[in-house]
Symmetry: D2
């Protein structure tokens, strides 16, 4: 595939963004592209690429059906589609190139629930590849990541690399829901090295970050409080107030004691409850997250949060049900592998600046794959490929400079070649 | 109209419940019934029955259009419908019967946003007059109130009553939104007496409460908090957290100091805010109400609530916008008029028990009309007509014993006759 | 005893105020006065006047010793003093005057922990009977109550009253601690009637309130939270924060749902905790009270408060210990007896205005005695004797108009004579 | 002075601990020791050693007088004492030893408000130098610091060091109150190098930490809330509740948003308010602190805390008065100077382990002096001298292994000699 082909692929994916676990079109489109163009040794699709039981934050059936139907309507290959039913998306493409190490490359493929800009200054709008799905958008560059994954496979297939390359096209990163399922698929078990990649992150086109660190471990929690409704004017004493439980829980979650061991975070991002001004609320719900610089710190916050939720409910005589929405550990890039990336980046046309390391400051479920590889004695490295992006990540005007797709392919393929030479 | 006709009218209204300010079908149906059956001296409809500028808690245009279209689809008289456009509903029917006092009777006509039971044990379901509008129901007996209003007009037109009778078919009682608009219509200005009526209230069929008291003054408040969104993991310091403002406000509203002067109430009945676990919420909203045994006590609670909302916002660096949703004063039934009701009730077939007085314990915007009449030197009385109701008010299985429609007509018409004799 | 003698007695008690359960001097002084002047049939002192095991809110030994020594130093009769050791204070004086009903009169005798004014405009300061104990003061008129009790005994002994009179000089009213102990003493068991008396309460000299009502039932609670100290900068995660538990408990106590059944109150009146800015607090303490218009309402508030305290502690991983400080039920004056008081008051010189009834709005442990008498079929009435008081109750400039002592004696003795005639 | 003399000096100081700004005996004792034993070029005492106007957290006059009188009673030199009146304590001793750099050494001299153990296993108790002032104790090793300061002066005076040495005996470190006053004295203005020293910090005897970092910037705040008292049962609406304001402020301070820029801390360490269970509290008070990994982060927390305090008061209609108790910036040790300390430490008898760097995790007002020197182009380094301490810092059984006094003198003098050679 030429650079132009990769750009076209990226634009096609950009036009058809799909949210987490709904990457039906995306999965099928990538499968077709890979199968028709490449001499792959194996292509694991959907339930063969992930462990379906290890998925987290899977949407409800109605949502899955909605996107499944969307995919069918735009003419997705029915045979592939059938295998993805129920939100079993993603691929693992394998290229065996002789004796040598087994190297993994992880790219993520899902879009985000946000409206895309219609401004003529927004490149996808001007060039006609703006999202066809109102309210969903590739606003974090995963379309470019997928294209880079395909490009790297192609480059390695044509190279002197001696070893095995597996590219993991991972679903549901945006909800921290897919990394664990891919790490549990079995395909990671024989990796000696793992690379992961992200474009942008406030680094301009031409800059590469060899090894990104500072992944905060994260857990998302959904708490539902159930009380007893009552007429607020006539019988206040008969109510058990789920909105009061919610408010107490919210205040107290933010007031949790912090830890000397490093960064911690807590946020209550969504609240809702009640039906009318004059009814004591029977039910309320909050969605929160806790993070930590290490998995231990996140667990500390999580344990405290669960205690807070339990007693905030009981204080107001309400039941509380806590569901863990999604979860990811912290991780660190291995310096040894980052050094190799640095070397490859320095030899790449268009790369003008190489940064050894930077902090992500957020969370990522690539950490499941990184930790799995590191646990079996391998090395892992999360690579940043700079790209000029007009709007910030997750905003309506986010876009990538398509030149960075080529940079990504070169830096990653260059690294992989060095690993198997 | 015979008792059977009134029952049929009540069932037709029950089948077509409409929420506050959306009583398009209801208004037109009542207008048609009144015009075809009665020798009315005047029938004021929609904008002629209320002061449109004094309406409170009017829903948004989309909701109004939805119900307007519903009404048209079931074949409502287009000429009447046209006059009600934009949520200008309600009627005032006038019957001039010679020299004598001007007496008002107020009945309310709106339904409630709740699902009606499909249980075969639920009489409307068994008899085929369950709501045709899913999610809306006459669950508080206003269908019976409207039928009583028609029946009283008919009875008085045929009686020896000497004076003027005005029946006020008031919209939007459930949101405390219509009483003020009707009180400001001008039609109340010459009343010497006002009667209002409610069925049920935990009194069985055959029991009448001559003068209900204990209306709590009420104000509903909607507060919107606006902050600044930020990534909760990466840039917590850049956020201004609208959900924290909401939680603080909620806790503190419940903790407001109470008053030695009498009953007060506060409730936060609805909360919502935020978009995602990992985003510091930019916006949140709560709907609350405060009540007081007197209007002064309610104002005390309201003033305190506004102070709490303002500083809960400012404490979290958020803007707060407070909108008053609806409002009603307290009121008391005049004993002199209640005594007359008591006399009339004792002479009514089927009435086995007459209670002089009882406390409502809730709020009602009939108080606007009662206070207006009392302010001009008249007397007002809120009458309770017992009815066996299987489910409580506002529940899915609420229903009225239709015998109580006749009781209501007799007690009220009997009282009016005594006033104009 | 002449009126002058009663005034002198009142002033002597005023000079020697003693706090709850420390009325050593007061008890002995009253015993001596009664024994030397009156032909009593019985005088029960200290442990014979109360049930020591039913005392509530007894201060610690150090405080008891301090006041015991104070009493000895001012020359209190050692033989009497010895019997009062350990905070067993109070008296019951019995006067048997032939056949007839047994009538009780309850007066309270304790002072308050507050500084008395030194202003020359303050009558006790000007006349030389200001408190000799800095920080303690008769600021609620119990000195006058005691004098009235003595005066009534004297008047009845000289009268035609036929029956038995018992005067209960009750300790520890200010902490709601003595009423239960006196009600459990056995001396109440044969009462047919009980009168209790209070001067002032914003009624002027010459006004009498025949039957006071509206006693709020009350419980005082002391909650101690125990956590784990830690350095707030270096090891925040090692702390269990007793001050956070206290703050949560305080906020949530005020936010408890109220009751449709009538008035309720809650207050956190004292908080303290922690040792230094940089230490996470190991211990904190709050003193709260809950009240209700009825004992049932108070119990509702108390049960809710205990749930709140428990979970506020647990939410912050702290232990909580709840001690009930004192407690009193609600009660009502019997109208029949109040009518008799009203009659007696109208025949009393100096009484210009008689009010049938008024609400106390606070709490009183005379209710224990009132309820005990009512439970055995007797009648009880709490009488207000107006007195001009320059400062409000419990303030530094409170004082009584000594003319009201005579009014009290006459109204109460007049009532008792009527009961036994 | 021999090592034995330094030990004796340390023990004498240990027997006479004095709290912040009350180091009257300590200052005079050190002045006498220095003047009699050393050929000093200048000894600046009290107001000549500090800038009195820059003192923070000075206790009230009564406390100052109490300790002044204590000092006089144990026979302190009256002439020196007179100069320290009003809490103007501390010394700067200057030793000019020829051409060369000006080097400062800062040691702190104050004790802590805590009881010292009487356990025979506690060395000072066993050896007879336990604190003579009940409730005050050298529980953080400042007695050893002062002795080290004297020892270094003595060693340098006898050495080949070429330059000027100034030793700063700083008062009021424990309240973060003296560092700023000493930094503003003028004596720091010509320093090329600054060393500061602390014993212990969980490092054992024989271990040295060359350059301690991680000083958290800190501000202590005292907030007083003033409302309006009222009877909680009778007139709750007349109160403005200072305890509710306190509770809201406390909860909200802990819930302040944290910062991505680094560590932050907040603690409410002391709360108190109210007088009685049945009175709505008129006044309450809290003592809090905020910290940050940098001064900017601390200021961020402080600004947020002030906003929270203001609106927590206003929400409850209370006035709030905020007083800044004490304040210190963050700082870092210079690596270049730490390397020199490391070299000196490695050449010191008894030092078995040298750690390059460690985090303090708390706060220290030596940072004022460090920053002042660094701002004028000099280098600063905070040195840790290990000492076995049976109890933790600030506990009743804290003690130093006196061998570490010699280690401190050798390491610091060795460093200074290297700077001026």
């Amino acid at each position: 595939m030429s650079t132009g082909d990769l750009t076209a692929l990226r634009r096609d994916l950009h036009r058809h963004p799909e949210p987490a676990w709904c990457e039906f079109y995306t999965t099928a489109r990538l499968a077709t592209a890979l199968e028709t163009r490449l001499p792959l040794d194996a292509l694991h699709i959907g339930p063969d690429a992930i462990d379906p039981d290890a998925r987290m934050a899977v949407p409800d059936d109605e949502t899955l059906e909605f996107w499944y139907d969307n995919a069918r309507e735009v003419g997705t290959d029915e045979a592939i589609l059938e295998r993805l039913r129920g939100g079993q998306t993603g691929l693992v493409a394998v290229c065996e190139c002789g004796e040598g190490p087994t190297v993994g490359l992880r790219v993520d493929i899902d879009g985000l629930p946000r409206e895309e800009s219609t401004d003529p200054g927004h490149h996808p709008a001007a060039e006609g590849f703006r999202s066809v799905h109102e309210g969903v958008m590739h606003a974090c560059g995963h379309d470019a990541h997928a294209a880079i994954g395909v490009g790297v496979l192609e480059r390695i297939a044509d190279s002197d690399f001696s070893g095995t390359l597996k590219v993991f096209f991972q679903p549901a990163e945006e909800v921290i829901g897919g990394g664990k399922a891919m790490a549990a698929s079995g395909h990671v078990d024989d990796l000696d090295f793992l690379l992961a990649v992200h474009v942008g992150l406030d680094h301009p086109t031409g800059e590469v970050v060899a090894g990104i660190d500072g992944f905060l471990a994260v857990t998302q929690l959904e708490a539902t409080f159930t009380g007893e409704p009552a007429h607020a004017g006539g019988r206040p004493e008969e109510g058990r107030n789920a909105i009061q439980a919610l408010a107490t829980a919210t205040n107290e979650l933010y007031a949790m004691p912090r830890h000397s061991g490093g960064k911690t975070r807590v946020n209550v991002g969504v609240v809702e409850g009640g039906t009318a001004a004059n009814i004591i609320a029977e039910e309320s719900r909050l969605v929160a997250e806790v993070r930590g610089e290490t998995t231990t710190l996140m667990e500390y916050m999580n344990d405290t949060a669960e205690r807070v939720l339990e007693h905030a409910g009981a204080l107001h005589d309400c039941e509380v049900d806590i569901a863990v929405g999604a979860k990811a550990p912290s991780a660190e890039s291995d310096g040894e592998l980052a050094t190799l990336v640095e070397t490859a980046a320095r030899g790449t046309d268009g790369v003008e600046s190489v940064v050894a390391s930077d902090d992500l400051g957020g969370s990522e479920d690539a950490t499941y794959l990184m930790r799995a590889v590191q646990a079996q004695g391998g090395l892992a490295c999360y690579v940043g490929i700079g790209t000029d992006h007009p709007g910030g990540h997750h905003t309506a005007t986010f876009d990538v400079d398509e030149a960075s797709i080529g940079h990504g392919v070169s830096v990653l393929a260059g690294t992989i070649e060095r690993l198997g030479s």
